[in-house]
């Protein structure tokens, strides 16, 4: 399945834009996505940490992804 990943903050710099499209196996997990992203964008591994959000909620590594999900890379937040 094809999914679109939104990127913010430093992740936008690392991914080279506000979103990227990726091809993932059906029912891929958040963990699968992170593995693939870190292969393609090794600088992600240099972050203090980062989370994946699915449909505006923080997701866990074992959560499954679906084709129309809104998926985002959330680098360490620093609002306020």
């Amino acid at each position: 399945m094809k999914i679109k990943i939104l990127a913010f903050g430093v992740a936008k710099d690392i991914l080279g834009g506000t979103s990227v499209n990726l091809e993932l196996i059906n029912d891929a997990t958040v963990y699968n996505l992170q593995y693939l992203l870190e292969q393609q964008y090794p600088r992600l591994k240099q972050l203090s940490s980062y989370m994946v959000a699915v449909n505006n909620e923080y997701a866990l590594p074992g959560d499954s992804l679906h084709e129309r999900d809104e998926i985002a890379i959330i680098p360490p937040v620093s609002g306020g």
Binding site: A53, P76, V77, G79
Partner: protein, 139 residues
């Protein structure tokens, strides 16, 4: 408990934020106002740039306000967060909480800003004379 949560690219208005949380049932209001400091770790800061993942940031702020009102008897809670380019002295965030008694207002206000800084998807870039950095991004 009622809440007013906004993300805005325009300057925040302190007086109208406080007016919103006041009510005849309130005895105390605690307000936290973030301001852009002219230096960080001794290094002069030229400006800050804030970016938000807006729908998720709003959802996370709603959760935080809900948690605060579950923990303390809060009457009204407001979070206004600014995004875009902010100069030194400008206001990235206003949090205002009213309650019948001041302890709840203080506790809830502090909980909201502390938790916001940990969980709400908003990012700040510090711009120095010789470069810029996304705050907290790297170890």
């Amino acid at each position: 408990m009622t809440s007013d949560i906004q993300i805005s690219s325009k300057p925040l208005n302190i007086q109208s934020a406080i007016d919103w949380v006041m009510s005849p049932e309130s005895g105390g209001i605690d307000v936290f106002i973030g301001t852009v400091r002219n230096s960080t770790k001794g290094k002069p800061v030229i400006r800050l740039e804030f970016e938000a993942y807006e729908p998720m940031a709003i959802a996370e702020m709603e959760k935080i306000v809900k948690q605060a009102s579950d923990k303390w008897p809060v009457q009204k809670a407001l979070i206004h967060h600014r995004i875009g380019v902010l100069e030194v002295g400008e206001i990235p965030v206003i949090i205002a909480v009213s309650a019948a008694h001041r302890a709840a207002a203080f506790d809830a206000c502090r909980y909201i800003i502390d938790t916001l800084k940990q969980t709400v998807p908003i990012w700040k870039k510090e711009v120095f004379e010789d470069g810029e950095v996304w705050v907290a991004a790297h170890p």
